[in-house]
Amino acid sequence: MSSQPRGNVIIDPEECKGCGLCVESCPPECLELAPQLSKYGVHPAQYSGEGCTGCGACFYCCPEPGAIVVERLTPPAKAASAIPLPQEVAHEATL
């Protein structure tokens, strides 16, 4: 479990405009612009796959309302709990 990153970031390449602000803002420098172009002709941001702390800097620096979703590792105690957090409920309801 200790090798698992604390956070995870999901970037929607359809929504990303490739401004690069998230890449610049990421404290652990785990975001990059994809070498390939998206269908809009920009290099969308992508997660390198490791190092995310779930700090949310990329989310707040991103000008698109829904391009970035940030997740954080569920603490084991809470993961085992039978009662889901309100946030989880809200998220599941939108799935």
Binding site: C61, E71, H91
Partner: protein, 485 residues
């Protein structure tokens, strides 16, 4: 992902899809790296966190953020350039439970809307103003704004802004903080995580203040405009923090509840007292005399001085007395100073959607010019009442019935050209039977104090009714049956 929980995602205060256009409904229209998206995000989150989404009304400005109503799933109003604080005032005062936000850019708020923001702040309106300052006019292509820095080039200051010629940048927060009435004023910058978090706190605090009926708040958000500044988004953001924020220092300029003198009790007059009429004290249910009244849309046109607008007011006032819904929309503008004048009157038993009438059922043309100008707009099967003995040569209105009533002549015969409009009112009432003539007299009695004029008005109404009843005859109008088809 398995074992992870979402901590940041798109706020439910945004629509799922932005149906501004058929394509690309998942993206905002803002340029890459634009600060508006971040400002939107902070507002949406604060609304959600405070549980205010369903009470919120966003007033969109003119500028790049003119389309904010495509993004926010709240009540939305888009207003004329710079007028957001005035519209927000009206919205808040008429819906005190709502949370009203004016969202404005620097061209909108600090240039054309200077008067509105200063007076809204000075009244201490219980609204939030989010002022996005990017130092230029963005949407129109980068002209100089009041907030443009000294030396900064723009399309209208190609050699850079010169203080001696264009003045110094306008500091809105400092300006408003000089007033007694605002509650909370802060300047923040959308530049990096630290400052964006400060901005988020400020936005949320402003909304909380409004929720607590705390008064006026303004948050100025320094924001990058990479397109107009011709900079890479990252560089533009750096420019905001290193250059713009130097000229516009960040910080809290006001954070206290204003201590205003407690006003003396406002003298209260009832509507009846103010108008000098007796209030109906009876609690009996109002009897709607539907059989005496009918729905009608009327356009009254003529030249200034003929009592065009007054005739409209009389008609509307009559409708009110008969418990109808009414509207009266005068034409404003240069035509008010002689030349042509017109007004629209709607009489209705139901609620009225708009006071503007594009196809009136009745046109009252008090002169030939108005007849030519508006006759074609009359609804099919409608009526035109024309001030004249016969129609002008070559005139025809195929879709409407035209009745000629020489009201000016009749009024002259009665002794005053001034009552021509009242004669026409009598003719209208007789021809359309939209309202009883005695209601007209009741209204006129409350407005005219001079007994001589009152007698004349009484004669005028009767003369108008009488003419329509008895005088419309062969020769008066172009058709043998007295009508022109």
């Amino acid at each position: 992902m398995e074992g992870y929980q979402v901590i940041h995602e798109k706020s439910p205060a945004f629509y799922d899809n932005y149906d501004r256009k058929a394509e690309m409904q998942h993206q905002t229209h803002y340029c890459p790296g634009c600060g508006h998206g971040i400002a939107h995000k902070l507002i949406a989150e604060a609304l959600t966190e405070l549980g205010l989404k369903d009470r919120a009304i966003l007033v969109s400005p003119v500028g790049c953020s003119v389309f904010a109503y495509y993004y926010f799933d709240v009540g939305n109003v888009q207003v004329a350039h710079g007028r957001a604080p005035a519209a927000a005032t009206a919205l808040k005062r008429s819906n005190p439970d709502s949370i009203v936000m004016a969202y404005q850019g620097d061209g909108d708020l600090a240039a054309i809307g200077t008067a509105e923001i200063i007076h809204a702040a000075n009244r201490g309106e219980n609204i939030c103003v989010f002022f996005v300052n990017n130092s230029v006019y963005g949407m129109t292509g980068g002209q100089m704004a009041p907030t443009t820095l000294v030396g900064q080039k723009s399309t209208t200051s190609p050699w850079g802004r010169r203080a001696g010629n264009e003045g110094l940048p306008l500091h809105v927060c400092e300006l408003l903080a000089a007033l007694e009435t605002p509650t909370y004023i802060e300047r923040v910058a959308l530049t990096d995580m630290k400052n964006i978090m400060k901005a988020k706190k400020a936005v949320k605090k402003a909304l909380q203040i409004q929720k607590d009926h705390g008064g006026f708040s303004l948050i100025e958000l320094l924001s990058p405009c990479p397109t107009i500044l011709k900079m890479d988004p990252v560089v533009a953001r750096k420019w905001v923090s290193e250059t713009l924020a130097k000229a516009f220092p960040l910080g809290v300029f006001r954070d206290r509840k204003p201590e205003l003198p407690v006003d003396a009790i406002v003298p209260h007059l009832t509507v009846a007292e103010a108008l000098g009429v007796e209030e109906d004290q009876s609690n009996e249910p109002v009897i709607r005399r539907h059989h005496h009244t009918r729905d009608l849309t009327v356009k009254i046109a003529g030249f200034g001085g003929q009592g065009i607008l007054l005739m409209g007011q009389l008609l509307a006032e009559m409708g009110l007395r008969e418990q109808m819904e009414v509207s009266w929309l005068p034409s404003y503008g240069p035509e008010m100073r002689s030349g042509s004048a017109h007004c629209h009157v709607t009489l209705s038993h139901d609620r009225i959607g708009t006071p503007l009438i594009s196809q009136p059922e009745v046109l009252i043309a008090m002169n030939e010019l108005s007849l030519h100008k508006f006759a074609s707009s009359v609804a099919s099967g409608g009526l035109v009442l024309y001030n004249g003995t016969k129609l002008p040569e070559g005139f025809s209105a195929k879709q409407a019935r035209v009745v000629c009533v020489p009201v000016s002549e009749i009024a002259d015969r009665l002794g005053s050209a001034k009552v021509a409009n009242v004669v026409m009112l009598g003719a209208l009432l007789e021809e359309t039977e939209c309202l009883p003539a005695e209601t007209a007299m009741a209204v006129i009695e409350t407005m005219v104090k001079n007994p001589k004029m009152l007698a004349l008005d009484r004669q005028a109404i009767a003369a108008g009714c009488d003419y329509v009843d008895t005088q419309i005859e062969i020769g008066a109008v172009s058709q043998p049956d007295g009508y022109s088809y």
